[in-house]
Subunit: 467 residues, 2 copies
């Protein structure tokens, strides 16, 4: 029996209170490794709450790796001191193209699409009008090179509350897009330091590193994220990772794995982790996965986030949280860099965050994308066991392997016949990866539920026509 | 006697027609080296125009180096096949600080100040309102990574007309500030290639290069720009120069010198020139000096310009014209970089250029800064022969050497007493430079004529108090 004092009147939902309480007991050692947790029924009865509330808490703990499930026995406390990783993919196929963008097609399953129809037009126009009215000598002057203080303060508060990122506004650096911030990062590290990247990964980051002449070590991705053994065996000093939602495979890095990753960084004075928290805002099951940065006690995690993905691609504003040591280095190396974001845009976004519009906008987007995610999952039912789906319940795409439809080229050709372009997983590989069946990323954010339904139906028809 | 057909009804002013005609005769060899030009009186009588018109044409030819003056003998055609350069400065004093920004003082003679009171508020608000109204799915999408085509077209037209830059819109790359574009350029060149920079120079560019680990070779500046002999003797592959108005000394690079510089680049397949045309819009005597890019026949000049300096520092929009070969390399190396400038800003600026607002704005600014330039020159008369002035008739600052007022520290202290900060020339040195007397950059763009007058008077009083 576990003692969990609940506060039914608190702002924090009950399931989150349970989750937080058990998580604390696991991390502080109150609940030892392999301890069996009470069944959800028992705990629900004990706490006078519904069983589904307990289940939600358990699922969150499970997805973050604090507990594990044994079939027919229930949930047990995981060994969070260390865990071994399971290898998923090794090597074989050469990526034939590194291209991410694609020809325009009627239905785009692009994993980068977002729905600009959802853009908060009314609010944005109001904020823009206010910015127009407030143009003056002060707002036209150059401003703080790392971003206006008020904007950085608003971001630090937002990150603390929504992502568990711990930082002062002075650690935040504003830039016109993630590519630009990655370029600045490259300037902070000497050219000899090698960068480990998950394979497959986010290709744009890969191109920035390579474009600036940096050596990249591709490291395989396990079911729980970057393979730590392989990372340690490589001679990398920097690890670029997507722990809250591995891009593109969708793995969530559990807490033990996160600790191993941090320990890798801590084991040498010059190692850093770049945490690209690209789409963590979109999670459709349980609580958001807290950032790796929030777990870092030695200042080795660089946190990257962007507004382009949650507001509109044309809004070129990203931010980076630097550990104190790198802040000092940045000020020393680049004291003269001017901000790349206009002060008008900074002002609009500050108001957008401060007045609660960002939170409301995110809630609306999350709800819509959740429906589209469910619509895509549902539409894919027609394929039955002939496809394998992974990476679900988060982000803006599913990873779908087609088991019975011939080669990747054949499937692409059928899709093309149906007026759509499919984005191959292979195209995200930066080194050979073993992919057992043709696998594609199906982005759902840019399509309505009806479009998802009809385009999957057409694709199914095309693919089964020849069988 | 030279035959110059004039068109009195043409849009081109008469003095410019004369200038163009003689320039053509010199470059095509019709007028041989050392040919004496008719006196301004003779030519004026021959063409039935005023003598001052001829003088204006001659001054322009003189400042661009097509002709030279011999005391009491008149003007002669320069040897534009080649010329030797005169060395101005060698080495001695270490720069004690590389800091460009300064403490806020009541009167700022900062060479970077511009007057935001002159900002075209009404027009800008109108264009912003139009942009607000036109927000839609298309304008919110990512857009062309190198900048929207319409914006690049508007810039290419503006550059062709005002700066003689020859390029297609596809050669133009838009970026959020010159620093950012220089970072991209660094990515195009392998790290081993060394960059020659004028000494003294524009420090921000220097810091970008050094920050990205590039080797910089400081090359002395002669009275006509970068020392070509020293440049050739260095092992540089890239030369970063400011030929139309050397920053900070103010030299205008004459045509012979420009040809030598181009020949330096042409003499090896991997050499490029970066032409930073930072403030060529502001010239108060004669015609604008055409760009070096316009003279380049082999695609070796990279042209850089910015709107931040002519509109407002908070407008973070610069552009770069790449030679075709580097365009191809850019597309190959960085196909995935997103634009760093918001599409709203691109749209506003496109309209600003297209509707003629930019030209009107520039005319207004040029007139105001001309008055301030003259006011500063006039105010400095009180110093008589105890100061040396150079770099006048262009840009936004004068270079003033104080001959009789003790050390630089003493002069700084007096200025500080008078509530102002003086920007030392030494601070712009990237290697030892021999400066015979304490020398400062006196920026005039941020001060009204009255402020210029009174602050120079106060400075004079402070400096002469102790004598």
């Amino acid at each position: 029996m576990i003692l969990i004092p609940l506060q039914p009147d608190a702002a924090t939902p009950l399931y989150e209170q349970i989750y937080q309480n058990i998580k604390k007991k696991i991390t502080d050692g109150t609940l030892a490794c392999n301890t069996k947790l009470p069944s959800s029924r028992t705990l629900a009865e004990q706490l006078f709450i519904s069983r589904s509330t307990v289940n939600s808490a358990y699922e969150q703990l499970l997805s973050e790796g604090y507990i594990y499930a044994k079939e027919k026995s229930g949930y047990f406390v995981a060994d969070i001191s260390y865990s071994t990783t399971i290898e998923l993919c090794s090597n074989s196929i050469e990526p034939d193209s590194l291209c991410v963008e694609s020809p325009k097609t009627p239905y785009s399953f692009s994993p980068f699409a977002i729905d600009t129809e959802l853009f908060p037009y009314t609010v944005w126009r109001k904020l823009m009008n206010e910015a127009v009215a407030s143009l003056n000598a002060q707002t036209l002057s150059l401003g703080d090179p790392i971003g206006d203080f008020e904007f950085r303060t608003a971001i630090s508060e937002y990150l603390a509350q929504s992502r568990g990122v711990r930082c002062t506004p002075d650690q935040i650096l504003i830039g016109a897009g993630t590519d630009y911030l990655l370029m600045l990062l490259c300037g902070l590290f000497t050219a000899e330091l090698k960068i480990a990247m998950e394979n497959p990964t986010y290709l744009r980051a890969y191109h920035v590193f390579c474009g600036l002449g940096r050596m990249v070590n591709p490291v395989p991705v396990t079911k729980t994220g970057i393979d730590i053994k392989k990372l340690s065996a490589s001679d990398s000093s920097i690890a670029y990772v997507t722990p809250s939602h591995q891009y593109p495979l969708g793995a969530v890095m559990p807490v033990t794995h996160r600790r191993e990753l941090l320990d890798w960084a801590y084991s040498s004075p010059k190692r850093y982790i770049i945490e690209d928290d690209h789409d963590s805002e979109f999670r459709y099951k349980g609580l958001p996965i807290p950032s790796l940065q929030g777990m870092d006690t030695q200042g080795r995690v660089i946190y990257l986030g962007t507004f382009s993905r949650i507001i509109a691609p044309a809004i070129r504003v990203s931010y980076m949280v630097l550990p104190p040591e790198l802040c000092r280095l940045y000020r020393q190396k680049f004291p003269h860099y001017s901000s790349t974001v206009s002060r008008v845009d900074q002002r609009i976004l500050t108001e957008f965050i401060r007045s609660g519009y960002l939170e409301r906008h995110l809630n609306k987007m999350r709800k819509t994308y959740h429906q589209r995610h469910d619509a895509l999952l549902h539409a894919l039912h027609c394929f039955g066991n002939s496809i394998d789906i992974s990476g679900e319940y988060a982000g803006l795409h599913l990873v779908v392997s087609f088991l019975n439809y011939g080669t990747e080229e054949n499937i692409q050709a059928c899709a093309s016949q149906a007026g759509m372009h499919l984005y191959s997983l292979k195209e995200h590989a930066i080194a050979p990866v073993l992919i057992s069946a043709p696998t594609f990323l199906l982005g759902f954010a840019g399509l309505s539920e009806q479009e998802i339904k009809s385009s999957v139906a057409v694709l199914y028809k095309e693919l089964t026509k020849e069988l």
